[in-house]
Symmetry: C2
Subunit: 491 residues, 2 copies
């Protein structure tokens, strides 16, 4: 198994696409813009789901399921929402096929036309708030804390596996509250869940903050996000949490009687992350030889490759490998022995590197004699000889260490690619020469934001949560500014 | 909280609908035929998913995700498949909305018409086999053992919550094999997984067997099923496993090179269960006071209701309740203390009965003195006084016993409602007076099957797996028959 990937330096976009395909994560399907998530890619998604679902439940949320289809009229009820999604909606107009009268095949039965067209959900605020209307009468019915794991559809014209696809998988939280404060707290809580998840599990450091008005979710009062840096110096929005105010409650007339007996509209949040996170995971850590997966997200954490020549050696090596595998499993480490007899050890090494298995253990007859194994780390490519004594414990520590190391490497890279610019020239130079994040003063107007985007393709990724007060001048207009905002070119 | 359900005797269908709504399992949505699965109902589905997913992985399967939308032309490739599904397909024809020129609202943008219509998957054989074509070249690529958890859409005209809805959630396994024998084994293996799951976890006894040709899945060579008896004497098909032969491989031209170097079409299976199982669970066990959930499927297994008058009592009772709850949780029992101060204990008792919590523990000041609690079983409504010593252990045993008891009760009912008929008159009498399953001789023709269905609404549920050879005469035609088949009226 030779080199199978375009190098990052040569063509980063091509490297990414090669890697997603060759590592068996996903592929394009026969339906434009819709992907097939293959078993190895889906196994990563299942790991993400398991951790996030636990975090959602820990913070008091329950899962539920709302319809895939949304009546067209629901969209129109919240003006900016429909504005944001109308241009990318898949529309169901009929509910039956029939044989063509001329025998030429199957056609749509025009007599089975829907009275009102249905939209495949691009997001579920409208159908959910129409449902919540029936669930909420008084403050006793609040809060409602619900999450949905679902597929959604946005008819994107230019798609890339995981990063931007017409259909994608995600979770969408939709909560209802009695006060603005509670809803704001929820928005912040879930943003924090996402940031913790990204850093602790995906090993990806993120900046958190508020979006500018032009980058807000369609229908939100405030949108908060986590932004992650990819190795090509571009930012990727990896999760969003929206404070929706009373916008959807007003659109769907959802009122509640407060403790004081007064009627008011309900306050809302929504928040989501998607299979895009798999793209982020791939792009943040991997190298020209393949995936580098943090152990907590790896479908296989340790692969054991037996090396032998004779049948007798095979038996002994297999026995030893099985014993090690069992010891690792006893420590809840996901380990496998690669016993395929159709491939050489070298081929297997390359394949497991491509697939990003964090630790590889090779064991052969010499090792048996010496009571050792060879342990190779995927992240640093270091190889070491380990004594068999307490091997499982040592591997457990190694996996922890690898998880840490991958995070620290990404953190160092991100920090080294975060700079400040005080002039537009410096801003442009940094953007072209260094990439990454640039902290700069901005006058707060949509005009300036648009001008920068037009001229440099950089956008304001967020107004950082922890931005300190600092008097300065907008790099474009020279008008006063009180804090720096975070710019980058982005996915 | 008084009686909230219509009784089963009065109107079984209404009882079911009342129960699904009042227990908070699901409700109808604004979209015709599509339901909202509420948190309590979804929690049951999550339990089903967790167990089944484990069983699928244990038998070597991985999960993956294929597109929601299927090109219309794919359907036409397998003749009987399109025949089976064409009449209930939701069709996507456009991919954009726009503002009406007259300002009247949002309309479909006719310029954004798809060249080929897309169908929302009613099942995924076609899109999956089109994908497998790219994955399979030689016997080394086989078997492929994949499952998908997904939503599907069948435009049913008459819908009932969980039992028959336009959109439903399910899992669909799709496997590819080198030989017919292997595919047949897989079909049987997964039917067996379903039967085990139904009996061990849902506590529902099932008959297993093959469907007749007229009841086969559209595109299958053989369809096997599990059939469960509901309390109204009707059968419910609770899961199916299909041997697809080479039908889809031929339709999508999927061939492989065998070990002998010869090219042959690939052999296939598919198998699925859906949210319909929630309907089965409700109808198999519940009573006029609400749900009866087997402990292994209960989102809450033990509810602890504190009883007190004074604030001081409250504190003491809460402390004791929390301690019991912690002890139960230490044994992996899902327990909660109901501390709502807006409801009386009596109201809470009725609500937890309605929701089918298997065990209720009531604890008050008198109990504290005596070092006891009152334990009520949901299945038998028995109440007993338990000493606090080893309470968690006793509750653990009680839950096991309840799981068993619910199964045995359903098994006794099913067996008491399984009869043999040797004449058509006896058959009709049994059907009208007793309901349930009837074993009878059938001449094997579709004509006889159709006649019985027309005249009695009973269908052949399956040709039982364990049917012994028995010479007899068809109850309609009098022609010879070699074994009895299983009839029932069905959902």
């Amino acid at each position: 198994m030779g080199k199978v990937l375009t190098s990052r330096k040569e063509n980063y976009a091509q490297w990414y696409q090669d890697l997603v395909l060759k590592a068996g994560l996903a592929e394009n399907s026969a339906v434009r813009g819709c992907m097939v998530i293959k078993p190895y890619g889906y196994a990563i998604w299942e790991k993400m789901q398991a951790v996030l679902d636990g975090m959602f439940k820990e913070t008091g949320h329950s899962n539920a399921c709302f319809p895939l289809l949304i009546p067209k009229s629901f969209f129109s009820k919240e003006a900016s929402h429909v504005e944001g999604f109308a241009k990318e909606c898949a529309v169901v107009t009929h509910y039956r096929l029939k044989n063509a009268p001329d025998g030429s095949g199957i056609i749509v039965d025009e007599t089975a036309k829907l009275e009102e067209e249905l939209i495949i959900r691009p997001t579920s605020e409208t159908i959910i708030w129409n449902t919540y209307k029936g669930w909420i009468q008084s403050y006793r019915d609040l809060p409602i804390l619900i999450n949905q794991w679902a597929n959604v559809m946005r008819w994107e014209m230019r798609t890339r596996l995981f990063l931007r696809t017409a259909e994608f998988l995600w979770q969408e939280g939709h909560t209802a509250h009695a006060t603005a404060e509670e809803a704001m707290e929820e928005t912040a809580r879930m943003l924090n869940v996402y940031a913790t998840f990204a850093e602790k599990y995906l090993a990806i450091p993120v900046y958190t903050g508020a979006k500018t008005a032009s980058e807000r979710f369609a229908g939100a009062v405030e949108t908060y996000c986590i932004e992650a840096l990819m190795q090509d110096g571009k930012s990727l929005q990896a999760g969003t949490s929206h404070f929706l105010g009373q916008n959807f409650a007003k659109a769907f007339d959802v009122k509640f009687t407060g403790k004081d007996g007064r009627l008011d509209y309900v306050w809302a949040t929504s928040w989501g992350v998607s299979t895009r996170l798999i793209g982020a995971l791939v792009m943040a850590h991997s190298d020209d030889d393949g995936l580098i997966l943090p152990p907590l997200m790896a479908p296989v954490q340790v692969i054991i490759v037996p090396i032998y020549k004779t049948d007798e050696q095979q038996k002994q090596v297999y026995d030893a490998a099985d014993k090690i595998c069992a010891e690792l499993k006893a420590k809840k480490i996901i380990a496998q022995v690669d016993k395929r007899d159709t491939q050489t050890p070298g081929w297997k090494f390359a394949e497991h590197e491509l697939k990003g298995v964090p630790v590889r253990i090779a064991i052969g007859p010499r090792d048996l004699e010496n009571q050792t194994v060879e342990v190779a780390r995927r992240d640093t490519k270091e190889k070491s000889i380990y004594q068999l004594t307490d091997l499982a414990l040592k591997i457990e520590h190694l996996l922890d260490h690898i998880q840490d190391n991958i995070y620290k490497k990404a953190l160092n890279f991100r920090d080294s690619k975060t700079a400040s610019a005080d002039t537009y020239d410096e801003f442009k130079r940094l953007l072209d020469d260094e990439g990454g994040f640039i902290l700069a003063h901005w006058d707060g107007t949509a005009e300036t934001e648009a001008k920068i985007k037009d001229e440099t393709k950089a956008t304001i990724r967020c107004i950082p949560d922890n931005a300190r007060h600092e008097e300065g001048k907008c790099i474009i207009s020279g008008k006063p500014s009180h804090r720096r905002v975070l710019f980058a070119r982005a996915y």
